[in-house]
Point group: C2
Chain length 182, copies 2
């Protein structure tokens, strides 16, 4: 955002304020990854951004498949924002093959997942199936060779040597309800 606004340098105290941290926390966090700033000068915005992208692994590109073509799967398939960050959705898989995707992405049958993963070696599988089938679908993907899961199903998924990140939408809504009542 600072880059888009044409701002060239930024202080740790400015960054701290925007993230509800202290300037010292910001400096210490950055220090864990090297020295990005100069005492009394602050951080060069573009250099800092590039260093953070490197730390996060966002200078690479990732190929993504989506398992499940329901509301969430289709929304993710149609969302252009991920591509900008280097995450490219390559295909969507579903049990039902009569669903059409508007954006030209191939919708493939779950039966062809093994062959696809073997050939294309996608980096990330998005679990966008209902909770009841999420473990079974994720297990298949992992058995076929997937090493990273982005999970939208409301269950904990754990597999040895597999990275998992969860988006628990219902939990977030429950927390909102709790806040509204307390």
């Amino acid at each position: 955002m600072l880059e888009e606004k044409g701002i060239l340098k930024v202080s740790s105290s400015f960054l701290a304020r925007s993230m509800n941290l202290t300037a010292s926390q910001v400096r210490q966090d950055f220090c864990n990854f090297g020295e990005f700033g100069q005492q009394g000068y602050g951080y060069d915005v573009i250099r800092l951004k590039n260093e953070i992208l490197k730390i996060l692994g966002l200078t690479k590109r990732y190929s993504v498949i989506i398992l499940g073509a329901g509301n969430i799967g289709r929304a993710l398939a149609g969302y252009g924002g991920f591509l900008r960050d280097g995450f490219e959705v390559k295909a969507v898989f579903d049990e039902k093959s009569d669903i059409e995707l508007e954006n030209g992405l191939p919708l493939l049958s779950m039966d062809s997942l093994q062959e696809y993963v073997k050939q294309e070696k996608p980096d990330i599988a998005v679990i966008a199936v209902p909770g009841q089938s999420a473990y079974e679908v994720a297990k298949k993907a992992v058995d076929f060779g997937i090493k990273s899961l982005w999970n939208f199903a409301p269950i904990d998924l754990k597999f040895d040597g597999v990275c998992v990140e969860n988006i628990f939408m219902s939990d977030s809504l429950y927390v909102l309800a709790y806040k509204m009542n307390h």
Copy 2:
């Protein structure tokens, strides 16, 4: 899930295992809200569920409006799961009025938001517009009387006396990328 499986009672150690906590943590957490279990017997599944629903505020029903009819807004509008939990989507608002919603929900113009909020008093507004317009749209909703925001835009929203819960999808994807590289 236990209820669906017909399981009638459950121990704190079983609950702890399923959530990566210790039995003592589970018991202490529940203790903060009253006594739901009996020493040596465990928790009655249905009673425990009902107590947790009460704590979370999920025994009430909430009316929800969605601000933004892009991919995320439409997916949320079409997702039936929230209704089961008591969150009923009543209307979707967007700048563009030429978008059709498949599920019969009214798609209204952002211009009619003030009148709608005044008349219908929805409990929750979902912020499903792009980051650049999210603050402005949320500010309007709050000025018109909305007290709770479920925010999908990648910015922090803060307003006095307003509950906010965030779903930062891109952040989650960045964390996944970080895990994949470390």
